[in-house]
Symmetry: C2
Subunit: 233 residues, 2 copies
Amino acid sequence: MALNALKTSKIPRSDAVYFGLRRAIIEQALMPGDKMTEDVIGDRFGVSRTIVRTALARLHAEGLVDLQPNKGAAIAQPSLSEAHDIFEARMCLERQVLTRLAAKVTDRDIALLEKHIALERKASPADGPASIRLAGEFHILLADLSGNTVLARFVDEVVSRCSLILALYGRPHSSDCSLTEHEQIIEALRQRDGAGAVASMDHHLHAVTERALLSSTADRHRDIRSILDHYAK
Amino acid sequence: MALNALKTSKIPRSDAVYFGLRRAIIEQALMPGDKMTEDVIGDRFGVSRTIVRTALARLHAEGLVDLQPNKGAAIAQPSLSEAHDIFEARMCLERQVLTRLAAKVTDRDIALLEKHIALERKASPADGPASIRLAGEFHILLADLSGNTVLARFVDEVVSRCSLILALYGRPHSSDCSLTEHEQIIEALRQRDGAGAVASMDHHLHAVTERALLSSTADRHRDIRSILDHYAK
DNA sequence: TTCCACCATCTTGCATGCATTTCGATCTCG
DNA sequence: CGAGATCGAAATGCATGCAAGATGGTGGAA
């Protein structure tokens, strides 16, 4: 009785759908623009449309899914302008995370970060999807360790949305070099060097931004909306 | 044809419930801890539980509502620790907003801000609820004018959650002095003085924080039904 | 051929019904 | 008298059904 009171935390079935879809989006199994029909998702997950609808609404609130009334859901396609907004917010939030973290980081925190880096290093060469996810989760781990749950939630959101931006505008294998940048951040934290950590993060995020947005002008598939913006007026 | 394409944006009925409840929470008509029964809300707004559930989930995602499985929804009661996290995130976000805004603010923006201040000034003396809401909306307006939609969304959330903190820990009539502080911020913006605007905002938010975390009020017994009659339409 | 209207089909918006769980009051027993 | 068991009312979790809106293709008229 007293024991299973701990495991009696019934979790809603919509959570399973939410996390499943979220991972599919972040690992770029589902690509921006892909249509998400309630029936299809419900069949795959073995739940009714009611549940799917709840999960989609949640993803919509996070900006991962576009939701138009009477027309259904699709994976969000951030415009270049939105992409810029997301990167700016991300920079602002992650600076705060590192400033805060440098002042309170423990050896155990460092160990957790090292452990994560090891995972990144292992997954990096071959496994594309996992590599993308792990690179993002490094930043989410930093935010968690900062101890500020609000910052952590916001970082989680902007990092997730960055996956969409990468999928839309980025070039394929661009996450390798971020590994050493992550190591630089940890090194600065190990020395409780807040300014250094922020500087490393600035450098890292600028690099990510450039990698993500510079290739967009050249080739690959481009955003129709930003193209039309140019001709509409 | 081409004209009504603009007005053919059917809005879901859950939006009405969402915004109604949100306003009731922000204006402190509904207080932290108040139980929110789906049937009761549905009756007041004239919709089914399905719709109410959607609105509650959205409020939960924003941290305004606590949602426990099988136990229902209640207005969130941020802990002091959460309150601190929220203020820290808010400070970080609003600094960015002002830095950005000072660099691009137009005379039209200034005019909008002045107009809002006029509203605040008018509502301040008597109307408690509206005064609370307007003080928050000043900050949301700043974020909107910054042009960064992501920052704007985040600011919206933290400002809303600050209402809960004020309701829980703040003292009743504390929003008057914030008016002159808002004016200081506008003045700094008018001179395109980013550093000055940030300094004013720092001072303002520190003041708000201090005002917020002083005393707790005795709560009386209130009826959710009669309150919702006022917000249902 | 091109454009428009119309219809079949698919999909979403929403209410309702049923099963399950929670909560509180009464009852029972020590 | 008090602590725990028990039962009923109430609230939630979820699936399903139906109406309304969107999509895409066909046929007719200019």
